[in-house]
């Protein structure tokens, strides 16, 4: 930090962070408080609302059988799709490469609510029933660009001559890729996969349109509970999402550069 930056910058930055984190702190506090109305600061500490969460079939299904499952599937498939796409874009020169790259990152620019509506009307036209699979397909559209970004960043920092050296020592192209390139890409692959999971796990705009009655994701269930004025079980479910995402982002920060993915 330059020695002569304005004196108010520090307090301003602290205040902005307080505002940024306030809603999360409040949600966690409400989930630990004894009161049945949303109360901050809490008047005591209890795990009552977490017990209520695990006792609620709707919340448990939304968390584990829908959001967690779809998130893991989306992360796995997006990693395969995205890694292969990034390899094609970085390691080869062909006509239309830049246009293809723009196309691949386009889902990041499409407003999610519109993508959700568009996919809903598309499925309706084909008479496809909402299920975790329709949700998964939607999530793959928005998750894969994060994998492409992170793997592209990893590949750019990787010397292609390493692979060529392996090939000149007798490895086939496929062997060279799996024995040399892939291990070196490990941290950017894992970061991409984690981000794909997070994007799917916390998505609400697509899920509002693509979740069926049997496949309500956690954010959608939280949304409807807020509308129906539910109890602090909402806060407990939210706290669990906050903790999961916070830990995963810490992992990305440890193994890779966070900014290359976001």
């Amino acid at each position: 930090m330059s020695a002569r930056s304005p004196r108010l910058l520090g307090p301003f930055v602290i205040a902005t962070y307080l505002g940024l984190l306030a809603p999360l702190v409040v949600v966690i506090a409400v989930s630990l408080g004894p009161s049945a109305v949303f109360e901050f600061p809490p008047r005591g500490l209890t795990l009552h609302w977490f017990e209520a969460f695990f006792a609620s079939p709707a919340f448990v299904t939304a968390f584990f059988r829908v959001s967690l499952l779809v998130g893991l599937l989306a992360a796995t498939l997006a990693t395969v799709l995205g890694t292969s796409a990034a390899l094609g874009l970085v390691r080869f020169r062909f006509f239309g490469r830049e246009a293809l790259e723009t196309f691949f990152l386009a889902p990041l620019l499409v407003p999610e609510i519109l993508l959700g509506a568009a996919l809903y009307l598309f499925y309706a036209r084909l008479a496809v029933q909402a299920s975790i699979w329709t949700l998964l397909c939607g999530h793959l559209v928005i998750c894969t660009p994060y994998v492409i970004r992170s793997v592209t960043a990893g590949l750019v920092g990787l010397d292609p001559r390493l692979e060529e050296a392996a090939m000149s020592l007798g490895a086939t192209r496929v062997q060279a890729f799996f024995k040399v390139t892939l291990p070196l890409l490990r941290s950017s692959l894992v970061s991409g996969a984690i981000f794909a999971f997070i994007i799917s796990f916390s998505d609400i705009n697509l899920a509002l349109f693509l979740s069926g009655p049997q496949s309500t994701s956690l954010p959608v269930h939280i949304f409807s509970q807020i509308q129906w004025q539910g109890d602090p079980t909402i806060a407990a479910a939210s706290s669990m999402q906050i903790v999961v995402i916070g830990l995963l982002i810490l992992v990305v920060q440890r193994i890779f550069r966070l900014r290359l993915v976001v």
Binding site: L24, F94, A106, N205
Partner: protein
């Protein structure tokens, strides 16, 4: 490095995702374009004839107000995000690595938590018996109605989208050498003169992309206005949601969606142009 030999390996690598996006991004939007040209029917959802009526409808007073409100709230949100985000971006760009890492974590972590959870937090803070009103009552003042208003929506939107302002601005400021700042200050410029003459013009491309991101995200917001806004003063995102899932006016929803897509696309191209222009000007300095 393969320069596209006999077998186009790149096509096998990029093909699957390209195909996937074709089917699940381009075709659905083409489908929306088609829906937007059919007349709405309350009993059959849509009729087979073709018409521009759904677009004409957007010039009805209700929809003009809807778009006007949405674009205005987007503008306020963007302006507030600049005011809050720019100083944070400057601090992050110039912070020591350890502070920068902590700062980035605290910026990106809330960004990744579902919007509905952050909105829920604000409902507790701004509610009738929320934190703000408790503080007012403690000070002996009357509690105020904060929730379900435009103010609440803007607070929510700024809170959710400000990281999209900070990240590009921070990247732009990081590319400006700190020695430029020192040189300007050694030559006698005050910090604010230095900021106006050096940092602000050189970070303009980042600022433009940040504004563009925040604006296009806020005008298509749904969760925040749905949970924190006045139900009688809706934003376009809510109208689209309702016409798709509640009133089943799919042609109407389709024309609204395409209008919003066109506005967003116009903004992106405008911003690309402005960024190039700003980049050229910055180089000319």
């Amino acid at each position: 490095m393969d320069h596209s030999g006999a077998r186009p390996i790149w096509a096998f690598l990029t093909g699957p995702y390209a195909l996937f996006l074709l089917v699940l991004l381009l075709v659905p939007f083409a489908n929306i374009a088609l829906y937007s040209l059919h007349p709405y029917s309350p009993t059959k959802v849509f009729l087979p004839e073709l018409t521009f009526d759904n677009y004409r409808k957007i010039f009805d007073l209700y929809y003009v107000r809807l778009f006007g409100r949405t674009l205005r709230l987007g503008l306020i949100t963007t302006a507030a995000s600049v005011v809050l985000g720019y100083p944070l971006a400057y601090w992050l760009a110039r912070a020591r690595p350890r502070w920068q890492a902590a700062g980035l974590f605290l910026l990106i972590m809330p960004l990744m938590v579902s919007a509905v959870i952050r909105v829920f937090g604000w409902i507790v803070i701004l509610g009738r018996k929320g934190l703000v009103n408790q503080a007012l009552v403690t000070l002996g003042l009357e509690p105020v109605k904060l929730l379900y208003s435009e103010t609440a929506v803007v607070i929510g939107l700024v809170n959710i989208f400000v990281p999209f302002m900070v990240l590009p601005v921070m990247a732009a400021i990081e590319r400006i050498s700190p020695s430029l700042e020192e040189a300007a200050q050694n030559l006698g410029a005050s910090w604010y003169q230095m900021f106006r003459g050096v940092i602000l013009p050189l970070s303009l491309p980042g600022l433009i992309s940040g504004c563009l991101l925040v604006y296009s995200l806020s005008i298509s917001a749904f969760v925040t206005p749905a949970l924190m806004g006045n139900p009688r003063e809706r934003m376009v995102g809510q109208q689209i949601y309702d016409e798709v899932l509640v009133s089943f006016n799919w042609p109407g929803a389709a024309s609204l969606s395409l209008t919003l897509v066109l506005i967003t696309a116009a903004l992106i191209f405008g911003a690309l142009f402005a960024t190039r222009h700003a980049g050229r000007q910055a180089k000319g300095l």
